[in-house]
Symmetry: C3
Subunit: 348 residues, 3 copies
């Protein structure tokens, strides 16, 4: 659906700089945009494209010093360009991924499962005994919802995802394809040479507005609950072990691994491929760098990186020191020479 | 089912310290336990909770020096508190995850597949031509068992797991949800700029009592067999490449990657996110630290860590040296100053 | 099917050294081969097995200096032993994995989906509205093909793989089990404490002859296209974020993670568990070492390794320096002693 820039500004907020009557037909990235399209500028790395983009309008941060640089395009100045663009995208798109409604005849839904209003269950999906599915929740084809699972309303369980026994999902939870929630924790008690399986009797609770990426694994607690707090977003291929607790509003980037019983606070960012050892605490607002290996608890608000993870500023300093090692070696060699010379002279 | 502590001691062994007539109603973690519950203490990190736990009884290691510290709770002293707790858990729990039995009408089972006694095959599971499924093995909903796969008895194939062509599973093997066993190895022969696919004609053999985590990938051998030895336990999201051989009783923690043709011995521990290069040998009883990058074979019994992986003691020493680099730099600078001064005086 | 070595040479090329009339019954690895089998020698690590292999014939590189070392076996000297072996394997193997043909009655295929000639769709597979499936493409059991997906001819979608909305696959693309192509990118716009989901409206395009490993995740673009270039091969458990572009003929080894909007050139090798930060460029022909953490763009042809990734030669040198740190510390300590002595003498 086409809209003028003025109409967009009215719907999502912001101040038009330029011609508000320009007609917009869709959205695109700043480099790929064609005339008629709306784009955005948020990452300073892309500022240089503002002068060359073919987009008809660019959403920018109001504080954006670069506004002057735009020659041929209209601007929409907002408080938060990326968020504004997210809202604008919804205006232009005719979603092809249609809402499912009703239970597909090929789905297997246990008679004792309770389905809310307007639930959609796709072909070959499975919902077992005693599961409760909240209103408007969609269970895509091939997804598995185990016995006694409870989901809130407006959840989306994508194709072939697996939600096991007794897992609880809040409202508006998104579980992407292939994710496995509630698999057994990795618990074994060594008896001599043998590993005795420790029953994993707890569950997983995922609070409201959490998004869980494709092929993520979240293990059920041995006893008690593995918990993902409200509004936390988890990227693809992340491993969350048994009895982990993650606070609200945290960001867990792809391929992160969190070992058993570790607590992650609120508003924490764990960057890609980071690993957190077990039985630790990462405090509220802390940030763990990509590929970092966290071996000790991290205080609230602290930024750590590297292996073993250290305060980020220290890690950077140590990296600079390492980079300078060949020079340092040379300096020590030089010192040895000069000192030997001095010693020899001294002897004379 | 409720039991007294004395009854539990009789069933799982151990010596009661305190009142054996206390009635236990369930199990829990030491921090979360409520009155009436049984818990355990194994990790010394949690010793301090012994004085404050509300549990009615705590299973402890007999050698546990902290036994004196328990004020309000009964103790059950055992040789191996964690193993004893694992057994105790089985006493208290009424498993909700019911055994499947029979072949669900929506499952697809090829006529030439042979099913043992009491096999359970869930909705939408697929078993292809010539597969042989051992007695009491359960194939959960949506799982795929390829042509000519053979499983032993009492295996559990969790939802949406994929067991491909000619894979052999021993007895009591557990394959968690979304795991893929027997996918093609990553083999290509470079011809100029083109990568020619090398057919992957071997298979995967998984021996008795192995547990394979969710979304794990185990590649079939190019020729011959990729093998996982008896009693080995593999955590979620692990990658095992073609022609890898893992010995008996090893532990492979989440997100580990093992490259092609590497041999892992018996009783080896590979900690989380470790990577092992191809064509190496990790000897019996070796231990590889979390996130370690193993680029050379590891002798039996050796502990290695870091990237590139070195003996753990050396890695720790080098890490301490790195941590001290800013100070070392200062010392070298100081030496240079003092030496310059001396040289100047010398000249005079 | 049995063939003489002469016959094999005729079919795949190469020069027979020894008795070309020897009858070959199958293929195997050089260590495991039995009399009657054909094997190959390509990795110099295995040269020592040439003297002891029981294989009846070994394909070797013509330039192979070790040809003289083979006592009891025939040789087939070729330009490219591994590629020749790949071709030879096809001669000996009676593939058990039969071609599927036709649409299995339990599959769900939307009426508006268009299927090419000889398409095979397995039990419980799902093909949604408007999907177009090219000739001879096989969609294995439990696989999901979303609305408006287009595949070329001769593709193979393995069991339980998920190809989401609007993804485009070229010809001869292989998607292994459990892979998820076209899942939402991980995009959120922070608004205060809240993370606003950014709609992911782009798609994924996978060009001809690409192979995608088991449980790989490839995210759809926010706007525009996430692209995997012709002939690129991706191993298991790899994460490819939204708007990534990978060039032709690249190799991405298991568990690699590539962050959003990064461009990988042609003929690039990303070794296992490497991580590439977002918005970077890895130039044509570059090679990134295993577990490397790439934080800056990599020029064409450059080899980098370590964390943070540096030129490989420098990384090796720095590693050697680190290894020598305890000695360096000793040398500085010694210098301090000698200098103090000298200073004292100087004072006297």
């Amino acid at each position: 659906m086409n809209r003028t820039l003025d109409e967009v500004a009215k719907l999502i907020g912001g101040t038009v700089v330029g011609d508000g009557s320009v007609v917009l037909t869709g959205v695109s990235g700043i480099r790929e945009a064609l005339p008629g399209q709306l784009t955005f500028l948020s990452n300073p790395k892309y500022t240089r494209y503002l002068a060359t983009t073919r987009a008809s309008a660019v959403i920018v941060d109001g504080s954006c010093g670069s506004i002057g640089a735009a020659g041929r395009t209209q601007l929409l100045a907002t408080d938060n360009a990326y968020a504004a663009f997210a809202r604008a995208m919804e205006l232009f798109v005719d979603r092809e991924e249609r809402r499912m409604s009703g239970v597909h005849p090929s789905a297997h839904v246990a008679p004792s499962a309770r389905l809310g209003a307007d639930v959609g269950i796709g072909p070959h999906a499975v919902v077992l005994d005693g599961a409760e599915i909240g209103d408007r929740t969609m269970i895509h084809p091939g997804a598995f919802v185990g016995a006694a699972v409870r989901t809130g309303s407006d959840c989306v369980i994508h194709p072939n995802a697996v939600i096991k026994l007794s897992t609880v999902l809040g409202n508006r939870v998104i579980v992407h394809a292939g994710a496995v929630i509630g698999t057994d924790g990795f618990g074994f008690a060594r008896e001599g040479e043998r590993q005795l399986k420790v029953p994993q009797l707890g569950n997983v609770v995922v609070e409201d507005d959490v998004e869980i990426g494709a092929n993520v694994c979240i293990a059920r607690a041995t006893v008690g609950t593995t918990r993902v707090g409200r509004g936390t977003k988890i990227d693809n291929l992340v491993q969350i072990a048994h009895n982990v607790v993650i606070g609200e509003g945290s960001i867990v980037v792809a391929q992160v691994g969190i070992c058993g019983s570790t607590e992650i606070g609120k508003g924490v960012v764990l960057a890609g491929q980071a690993g957190i050892a077990g039985h630790l605490r990462v405090g509220d607002g802390a940030a763990v760098g990509a590929q970092a290996g966290v071996t000790k608890s991290v205080p609230p608000g602290e930024q750590v990186s590297g292996y073993p993870a250290r305060k980020h500023a220290l890690s950077k300093r140590l990296n600079a020191c390492i980079q300078a090692l060949p020079v340092l070696l040379g300096r020590v060699r030089e010192l040895e020479k000069r000192l030997s010379k001095l010693e020899k002279e001294d002897e004379c």
